[in-house]
């Protein structure tokens, strides 16, 4: 027995020694500048017009470029088009094509490729349109040597945001599913389904070329495995780190940023007690958003008061500094006759963040005498029952925004088929409709701001926060930036000392 004990000690010591040796290896820079990272889900397709999940776009926006592309601030910059012009009536979009752009296969991009791509993505070549929005296109025409004009059926100020859809070479029309050829700063050099996507620097890129030679993206569905991969040095960048595990990442740099998502506690506005404005206000007053941010996200969240994240700088209204007020909440409930309010919140079980939020809210509501039961449901069930079916009392979910404010705010319009809040307000509907057809940007911004004020003042839902994403990177990785949409711009990343 004595000997055994000693043996054990020896084993433990040698293991420790090896562990220390292992730690020393971290931070070693690879010779060829390859950055390795993971994605939790494989890309949907290599065909840019068949990408549906935001996880796919996050990667493939490095490969395919649209006529315009998103900026870090949430605006657009001309990409394949060197400039564009929108007519006074908001119907005609004229794009001037940039000279000297080459596709990944070496062929130069010309106006015909653009015309083909636009026709392909809008379903004019016999496919399903890549975006339902494209059914509004009346006509696509080459109007000059380097000019394409799109005519819309009805004016739509959101249209330009959809022109980020990738441009592809027309000679590749039959093999879009197999050969991903775009014009972006990276080309796909290898793809093993459900396993690995390899990107290689495009040396002919028209703009600022990538600083690294390539990217390897491993498909790793399990978050724990991904975490271990970072610790073992197999990857350099780990997106979506749980804030509770930051203390395990002392040897890494962590970067956090808002993600243009609105996490909200939705109250079914047609459910009997919630149809009363006072009850909704009382719940809003009873919820302590700072507490949620602290408890659920470890402080990594930006408090919201309406359905718009501050990363949408141009469009978002300023916070007025709402405060938690338990006494007033109690009084409002008493006046409305709902002193012992009871209801059930249905939360998608696959989102730990929303489930935890529900638990925190349930505790907070207890203080004003409200009993909230928590029911977790599977995601697909949530989508059909709560989101499409609107069969729920309350729910918690995150709505990821796009660059165009219309796609964010129209969710509350009464004629929107997925207005699962069941909110109805003709004044709100008019603001959204007017903003869509106006071509005066300042006016449009004002409409959207007014709409946000209505959502806040009517307490349509409890707008909690824009949860920040945390990305852990090796100490030698620089230039990782967050965009207000899911996009990891590998071209900006560099490996330094």
């Amino acid at each position: 027995m004595h000997l055994k004990g000693r043996n054990k000690k020896l084993i433990v010591l040698s293991l420790l020694g090896l562990a220390l040796l292992g730690c020393g290896k971290e931070g070693k820079a690879p010779e060829k500048k390859i950055v390795k990272t993971i994605t939790s889900m494989d890309i949907d397709s290599l065909n840019p017009y068949k990408l549906v999940s935001s996880g796919s776009e996050e990667i493939m926006m490095n490969v395919f470029e649209g006529l315009v592309m998103p900026t870090v601030e949430g605006g657009l910059y001309p990409a394949v088009a060197k400039e564009y012009n929108i007519s006074e009536d908001g119907l005609k979009y004229t794009f001037k094509i940039r000279d000297g752009i080459k596709f990944h296969n070496g062929n130069p991009l010309d106006v015909k490729d653009v015309e083909f791509s636009l026709r392909k993505m809008s379903g004019r070549e016999g496919d399903t349109p890549a975006q339902a929005m494209f059914s509004n296109i009346d006509d696509i025409k080459i109007t000059g040597e380097d000019e394409v004009t799109i005519t819309l059926k009805v004016p739509d100020s959101a249209f330009i945001y959809y022109m980020t859809e990738g441009i592809v070479p027309d000679e590749n029309k039959d093999s879009l599913d197999k050969e991903p050829i775009g014009t972006g700063p990276f080309k796909v050099s290898g793809y093993e389904r459900e396993q690995k996507i390899t990107l290689e620097k495009n040396n002919d890129y028209w703009g600022e070329k990538a600083k690294i030679d390539g990217v390897e993206i491993f498909v790793t569905p399990n978050a724990e495995t991904a975490f271990l991969k970072l610790l073992s040095g197999e990857i350099d960048i780990l997106p979506r780190v749980d804030s509770k595990r930051l203390n395990e990442l002392k040897n890494f740099k962590t970067i956090s940023g808002a993600q243009n998502t609105v996490q909200l506690f939705a109250l079914n506005n047609k459910f009997e007690p919630f149809s009363h404005k006072e009850v909704r206000e009382a719940i809003n007053l009873a919820v302590d958003k700072d507490g949620i941010i602290k408890n659920v996200m470890g402080g990594y969240g930006i408090k919201l008061e309406t359905n718009m994240s501050p990363v949408m700088k141009k469009f978002c209204i300023d916070n007025i500094g709402e405060k938690r007020d338990i006494e007033k909440a109690k009084e409002l409930l008493k006046n409305a006759g709902y002193e012992n309010l009871k209801f059930t919140v249905r939360v998608p079980s696959n989102y730990a963040m929303h489930v935890s939020t529900a638990q925190v809210i349930a505790e907070q509501l207890k203080e004003v005498g409200i009993t909230m039961e928590i029911e977790t449901v599977e995601w697909a069930t949530w989508l059909s029952e709560v989101y499409s079916g609107r069969k729920y009392e309350a729910t918690i979910v995150g709505l990821t925004g796009k660059l165009d404010p219309d796609s964010i705010l129209k969710r509350y319009a009464s004629d929107y088929p997925r207005n699962f809040f069941n909110y109805e307000n003709p004044k709100y509907d008019k603001l959204i409709a007017d903003a869509k057809i106006t071509s005066d940007e300042n006016k449009r911004i004002e409409y959207y701001k007014e709409a946000q004020r209505i959502l806040r003042d009517e307490n349509v839902a409890v707008f909690i926060m824009d949860p920040e994403l945390i990305t852990a990177v090796n100490k030698n990785i620089n230039g990782y930036v967050f965009y207000p949409l899911s996009f990891t711009n590998f071209a900006k990343i560099s490996i330094g000392e």
Binding site: K50, V52, A132, L228, L231, S232, E234, S384, R418
Partner: protein, 304 residues
């Protein structure tokens, strides 16, 4: 004749499984189109996709189209991957089979000597410890073990990669994790068989007739391993119809991962195809075991 009867029964059950699963998938909530597109998509886009997937047609029409396809060996296209279901399954099969083979190999190579050793050891303490370890082997949760293994061998020792990376070496860790509970089960089973066989009359007879212990042991071992065959059969079925958790943890693109993705995205043709595949494997392996058994142990054929 016996086998033909058995076979037709099994084909009928596969048909039944197919039909029932089709109806069950209809009943559970969750719309494939919205599951694919998610909450951030425009409802018009969801409608477009529903149409493209043929989900707007009636249940009977869809069932008949599916049934007709199956008879022709066509299981339709996956919603998510827009590729034929059969191709998707076949592409993943080699890797899954490889894992199954290695794991079963490990199980067999460890269990047989281990059970014999445990049976032979007379020291009470060691025996108790052995029993304890078998208990641990059987009850340790594999997802936990998988993560611990990756941490120890991948992060601390850096001997293996964390998760599968297309090399044979990276398959060993998951295979060991799969093998461990099975080693526990098979070892304890063979060992109790050994003890049972030892007390059989024929052993006593052979012993008093002066057969050497070496040969005696072989006899006992052979007769103790035979009853394990159905158990191994179940293990094989388990392994080649998808080791869901292990594949998820080790990022192995096998049948199990396909199954998870198909359920999460409500990829009905793919779920259907996988259920069909599973039931065929089940039937086939059972069939093989029956035959194998009757070849090895003639008493079973006699009992027909």
């Amino acid at each position: 004749m016996f086998y033909i009867k058995k076979l037709s029964k099994m084909i009928f059950s596969i048909f039944l499984i197919g039909t029932l699963s089709f109806l069950l998938l209809e009943m559970i909530p969750g719309d494939p189109a919205s599951a694919i597109l998610g909450v951030d998509s425009a409802p018009e886009d969801i409608e477009l996709l529903r149409e493209a997937l043929g989900l707007n047609k009636s249940l009977i029409v869809r069932y008949l189209t599916w049934g007709k396809g199956v008879l022709a060996g066509d299981f339709g296209n996956s919603f998510k991957y827009s590729e034929p279901v059969v191709d998707l399954i076949i592409k993943r099969l080699p890797l899954t089979l490889e894992i199954a083979m290695i794991s079963i190999g490990i199980v067999f190579l460890v269990s047989v000597p281990l059970s014999f050793l445990l049976y032979k050891i007379k020291n009470k303490h060691v025996k108790k410890f052995g029993d304890f370890m078998i208990g641990v082997f059987i009850s340790v949760p594999s997802f936990w073990l998988g993560i611990i293994f990756m941490f120890v061998f991948g992060v601390i020792l850096r001997l293996f990669s964390v998760g599968y990376n297309n090399t044979f070496a990276s398959l060993l860790l998951p295979c060991v994790v799969i093998a461990i509970p099975n080693i526990g089960i098979i070892t304890s089973y063979i060992r109790s068989n050994l003890e049972y066989e030892m007390r059989e009359e024929y052993i006593k007879y052979l012993y008093v007739n002066g057969l050497k212990m070496k040969w005696l042991n072989l006899y006992i071992l052979k007769n103790s391993i035979l009853p394990v065959i159905p158990l191994i059969g179940i293990m094989i079925i388990d392994l080649i119809t998808g080791i869901v958790i292990i594949e998820q943890i080790f990022s192995i693109p096998g049948i199990g991962r396909l199954l998870i993705t198909s359920v999460v995205t409500r990829d009905i043709p793919l779920i259907q195809g996988l259920i069909f595949y599973t039931s065929v494997v089940l039937v086939l392996i059972n069939f093989i075991i029956d035959i194998l058994y009757s070849v090895i142990d003639p008493r079973i054929r006699g009992g027909e």
